[in-house]
Amino acid sequence: MGRYVIRRLIQAIPVLFGATLLIFCIVFALPGDPIAALFGDKRPDPAIAEVLREQYHLNDPLLLQYWYYISGVLFRGDFGVNFADVPVSQIMAGKFQVTLNLALTALVMEAVIGVGLGLWAALRRGKATDTMILASTLLFISVPTLVTGFVLQLLLGVKLKQWTGADIFPVAGTFAGWRSYLLPGFVLAGTSIAYLTRLTRTSLAETLRADYIRTATAKGLSRRRVVGRHGLRNALIPLVTFLGADLGNLMGGAVITETIFNLQGIGNQLFQSVYLREQPVVVGIVTILVLIYILANLVVDMLYALLDPRIRYE
């Protein structure tokens, strides 16, 4: 197992370097002068622009800039500063917190709603409930986040308040604490809830057909016990791995949700930094997201081995 982890980590190194270099190149190619961007509608004083360019190594060739950046990250754990001299790590810390809160809210909703619905459908397999649930998952998969976001914002954020006077779901921002995350969390989770419902249904249905379930039923165990103890436990494996892998997806895919609900997370930050051409911020965020992706996948594979004794890693 240990050797396997090490091998996986070593394999991740080129992926990490490749991804950061790729992003670095793209940001490097972004049109417009990052220094000019700082001056808004005024033409920057060329003398000042020159000093700033020198200060941020913008006159150096691409690979040298990349070296400055990556050596800072590797040897000093320093992600650099943006053009207002604010450390990128400081910027990222705050934003990652918001996105993590959002992603975790979404993950909990996925687990509760997705598994719940999937279970229900599996137990009512072939009946009307099952068909209804399946049809609604199709709907959920199809409606883009862009649309669910705005529709729920209007219905639950604004209209609900107008009709009932209850301010349950804030329209935007994070000023209302954890309640701020409920609505965007659900919007972000939308598609995943639907996938998880389907996965739970398929997985549990497959398990329930297995011989040992038949044996358990034949032994005279109650249905609750058969499903709960024997069925669900084994059906859980793909679900846990799905959730694990989805955390990275949720964090990387939150930009639309964050924009609609004005949450200042990494998606939003990245979006703004792309426009300000803040290379270190963009690359920093993507690097961390890639890391999360790699680690999440590794953890998921470990979980496989833990949950299913038949799998052994060399």
Binding site: P31, G32, D33, A36, A37, L38, F39, G40, D41, K42, R43, P44, D45, P46, A47, I48, A49, E50, V51, L52, Q55, A84, D85, V86, Q90, I91, A93, G94, K95, Q97, V98, N101, D167, P170, V171, A172, G173, T174, F175, A176, G177, W178, S180, T259, N262, L263, Q264, G265, N268, Q269, F271, Q272, S273, V274, Y275, L276
Partner: protein, 546 residues
Amino acid sequence: MRVTKGAQIVAGTALLALAVAACGGGASDSGGTAAGGGDTTPVRMEIGEPQELLVPQNTTETEGSEVLAALFSPLVGYDENKQPVEEAAESVTTEDSKVWTIKLKSGYTWHDGTAVTAADYARAWNYAALQDNAMSASYFFGRIDGYEDVHPGEGKKPSAKEMKGLKVVDDLTLEVTLAAPFSQFKTMLGYTAFYPLPESAIGPDGKVTQAYGEQPIGQGLFKLDKPYKKGTDATIEASVYDKFPGKKPSNWTKLQFKVYTSAETAYNDLQAENLDVDDSLPPSAIASAKAALGDRYFDEPDASIGYIGVPLKYNPDFQDVQVRRAISLAIDRKTIAETVFSGTRAPADDFINPAIPGYRQGACDACTYNPAEAKKLYDEAGGPKNIEVGYNADGGHKEWIEAVANNLRANLGIEVTPKPFEKFQGILDALDGKEYKGLFRMGWAIDYPAAENYLSPIFGTGAIESGSNYGGYSNKEFDELIKKGDQATDAAEGLKFYQQADDILIKELPYIPVYFYRSNFGHSTKVKNVKLNLLNQIDWADVEKA
């Protein structure tokens, strides 16, 4: 100064504009972090995220300026007649508009207790002007004698560290010699760039320290409670500085700036009384704000202007003044101001903004909507059949540019293509590189409240190379009049010449003025007597808790 609010007001893609980045982090509603008992709950003010660290000499946008204005006391403020009056200065005098003597009031101290001296001003201004420090406000000092030595331009090394025009006479007297007479110099002194810097702000390497930028020590009404960590903190907290010699608020001591990234969110908080002062109401909220806030809603002129710029230097098609007049007459400013901006802009009818002395209502005769006349003029002059209108996509300009394009298409019968550029600078680069020669949007927020600031920095021949004259307009008569105005020995006399220069612009329309900005702000029931000054900053000393 840049209007970062303008960008903020129009959400959508504008969210990414300029300084509108900020943190979340789940700040508490009530802002109950204030120490002490019940009556120290803070007065809460809306801002967008400051773009840079809080260094006055590097702050040329509205949000950072708003914070700094609470921490610093300017040399001059502005009275109801928009005239400069001394604040931290005892007097600002001149004989010839060239040599200015600034006497400071005694009794001002830095927030760390040390006295403020004339040397602190000289230090700050020299620091700002020195090219190597790359301070964005350095151009404010360009009129001071010796600026060329410390700021010789691209590729050249400064030959001095200090401007020879700045002389510290004694602890409370500063003598400023300008390179050429400038009658409006006193009005400039109220600006962020002219705040002083304490000795402790400069680190061993000769630069302003990071720590100072996070927690600047000022000499004004409020003192920061703790460093502001940009990107992480959702609030900036300050308390009244007890040794401040000027007027203090009568019944409150804590001020809190809440950083918002969306004008809509801030407006919601204002209605829920989670915010006390909001000066960037979104256009979508204006209609409801009048009803919801009643006499707590205010709509006042703001000193900024929006134009359609004409690339005179780059495109012969627009040389004929009749073409420019026709385009101007074809724009339905009133409907655009009312519909696209919901009244957060007013139709422009002069090159000088109504917020500033010197504005004349209805001065621009070609700024009225007259599609029939426009069509006639345009056809007679044989204007181009295809024109482009460039705009920067990062500032929420798309909608009004599309509206202007629709006006021109429908009224002049020509093809008009709105062309988005990443940044405003992109338009300028494309013009310079001869890749683009269409019309372009342009905005101007003043650097100091004088009519002159709407004229020479944008239309003066000298501003083509080093200023903001992006269209390349050049008129000798205009330049002469500006010079006469500058040399006048008092501001009122100068204004007469500036208005004559304005008349030339109105006749020639080097740019087409489209709208004046408006300041739309409101406050909660918890405060009263909230007023914006000429720089769109709140006079905190006058605000009372209700």
